[in-house]
Symmetry: C2
Subunit: 382 residues, 2 copies
């Protein structure tokens, strides 16, 4: 008996509306997961996330291993208790982070040696050690340790990384298989990650190999939105969609922007995550139905309208653009919070709206209309 | 018919429990008012303040005049609408700020010339111009423009500043008297400010002069907690208490720390404000019933207890010291918010508890016990 299940309630083309159930509750899919890198979604309170209807959030194994330490979090009751989030949590394996440390790392078949971005100390991640870190953190979904490469990598490079990721998946699964049942409390679902860069044959091979290697609770799609052109990403998503089991949730890692979510849902993706809404929010950029808006621009000095007139987030219900602009010009912390809150809400609600459209069988028209309006005006420079 | 009233419900020695009614609602006194210098209580959301039971907050005329401009705020509907706070608001006159700009200002009988701390531009405040700024901001209570001096100033210096403040009060009142009734929306109450440094005779003379000059809705007590010793402040409070009308609210400006609030209530003060709870919070210091605590200390690394085991704020109800310490070590914004929230809640609740003790006739024992416990342990270094 698994604590996990995935039920598809409606399909519309390749799009799916489902319910992913975890030991810490349900996630209505498609869903955007806010990123709590260091056990906090930057500038937000867990209550903000609950109030906007966010159901599942992320933590990051690399960052939490370094600070405050995964053993510290284990001793404090695990990530859920630590950050006062009783809903579902997923932890990234740190693959993306350690492979982003250009010049600071050495890859071998065993794993990766790297230097901490905090103090330069020498560290090593292996598939086994990352699993133990993710066990200590105690998230509901734990991602395999994978070899991430730049989006434009050539075929031999992409093949090497993808095949290594498959071998590392087997080692991750073996490590998880050695754990005492219930040893870390609730059950944890190990998600494999499909790699292969922008090379269709590699993506197919990876998806098939993973599919044939086990009955996975869900599937990650990695190595996208890492520098490749957007049409490449959409093409690869279509390939992966056709190869992965349809009855399991698919998680497109590190994606993304509103238009990427809409395009991803059209290609059968169920889960997304990205730091964009909070990072952009801290820089003064807000998503709106009509594209992005830079709140620092002088044109908003006396603007009494909310960030987005169609938005029902707690920033838009209360504050004018003029006020939020003032907060940014005066370096006030509330400004960072309000734009972060608005942007995360924007993506959470976007996925709720997508779900409704799928249920109604109107998702194709809905997504085309949505994209046309979002892209109709020149994007306000950030 | 005034939109303002003050009803004393209970007295206990010099302490009073009352209700101060304003056009934007009631304030149960004694009360601590959180400071929203730039139209935001730093790191907090208005909803946080409402949730903790804060009733009245401050804005600052000097800061808001410079940024975003008082006329901008007027055009956006006034301070209440601008910052989405529909409760009572008080604005400080900027006296304290411009007199803090050592070397950057010139005082004359007409007013003060100073340079903006933002861009060095030459500016001038007069009693009349400050009243117009405070009218534009639209707070319920507006403070007179006064001449603020260091706490240790000698008698001639203090006399000069106090007498100038009295002449400026007359000019402030004359300016307010010229306003169209209801011209800026709701009625605004001009509070005079008793100055006089640490010199008893000057304080008595100022209080009597103000009392004799009009039937004021409330009274400010200024120029304390500006460098003088605490016993001097308490002595002067006792003097002013005996000179001001007992049936009006007294506001001790810029004070203060928990112990100052308890001592102030014992001397008939009804309203307090201070940036200490938010400023200290952003620096990692938390008020607790047993004194201050510096959350960054290593001893809290694995501490599962809340900041203060007696506290029911939304930080203490949810988070361990270990988590909040982690947020500070990782420079996460949520840490600033949680400590600011806890500290403001601490003072708001302290005044609620004082009110209860006054009602019960136990305020003398309550305040002695409170101070003994708060001061019983060595203060954790900040």
């Amino acid at each position: 008996m698994s604590d996990f299940s995935f039920t598809i309630e409606h399909t519309d083309g390749a799009s799916r509306a489902g319910v992913f159930t975890t030991p810490h509750g349900r996630v209505d899919t498609p869903a955007f997961m806010a990123v709590g890198t260091l056990a906090t979604v930057k500038a937000l309170d867990p209550d903000d996330l609950r109030a906007m209807g966010a159901q599942m959030i992320l933590g990051n194994a690399y960052h939490l291993h370094l600070r405050p330490g995964d053993e510290t979090i284990r001793d404090l009751g695990g990530l859920h208790a630590f950050m006062a989030w009783d809903g579902p949590v997923l932890t990234d394996s740190g693959g993306f982070q350690v492979f982003s440390l250009e010049g600071l790392r050495t890859v071998s078949e065993d794993g990766v040696e790297f230097r901490s971005h905090l103090d330069g100390s020498l560290r090593a991640f292996s598939p086994e050690s990352v699993m133990r870190i993710e066990r200590n953190l105690g998230a509901d979904v734990i991602m395999q340790f994978d070899h991430v490469i730049p989006g434009q990598s050539d075929e031999p490079t992409a093949r090497d990384a993808s095949e290594r990721s498959l071998r590392w998946l087997a080692r991750c699964a073996a490590e998880v298989g050695r754990w005492e049942p219930g040893g870390s409390g609730a059950e944890q679902a190990l998600f494999p990650i499909v790699q292969g860069g922008i090379h269709e044959s590699l993506r197919r091979a990876a998806a098939r190999s993973i599919r044939d290697s086990g009955d996975w609770i869900g599937y990650g799609i990695g190595g996208l939105s890492v520098g490749e052109a957007k049409p490449e990403m959409y093409r690869i998503l279509g390939v992966v969609d056709s190869e992965l089991p349809r009855d399991r949730p698919r998680y497109l890692m590190g994606v993304g922007f509103p238009e990427d979510l809409v395009e991803g849902v059209r290609r059968g993706v169920d889960l997304f995550d990205c730091v964009a809404p909070t990072r952009m929010g801290r820089n003064g950029a807000a998503f709106t139905r009509d594209g992005r808006l830079n709140i620092k621009r002088a044109e908003f000095r006396l603007d009494k309208r909310p960030l987005d007139e169609d938005c029902d987030c707690s920033a838009c219900r209360r504050f004018a653009r003029a006020y939020i602009r003032h907060l940014f010009m005066a370096d006030e912390i509330l400004g960072l919070r309000l734009l972060s809150l608005h942007n995360v809400h924007f993506l959470v609600r976007l996925m709720r709206d997508a779900r409704t459209a799928i249920r109604d069988g109107t998702s194709d028209a809905w997504s085309r209309d949505w994209l046309a309006r979002y892209q109709s005006r020149p994007v306000t420079s950030e």
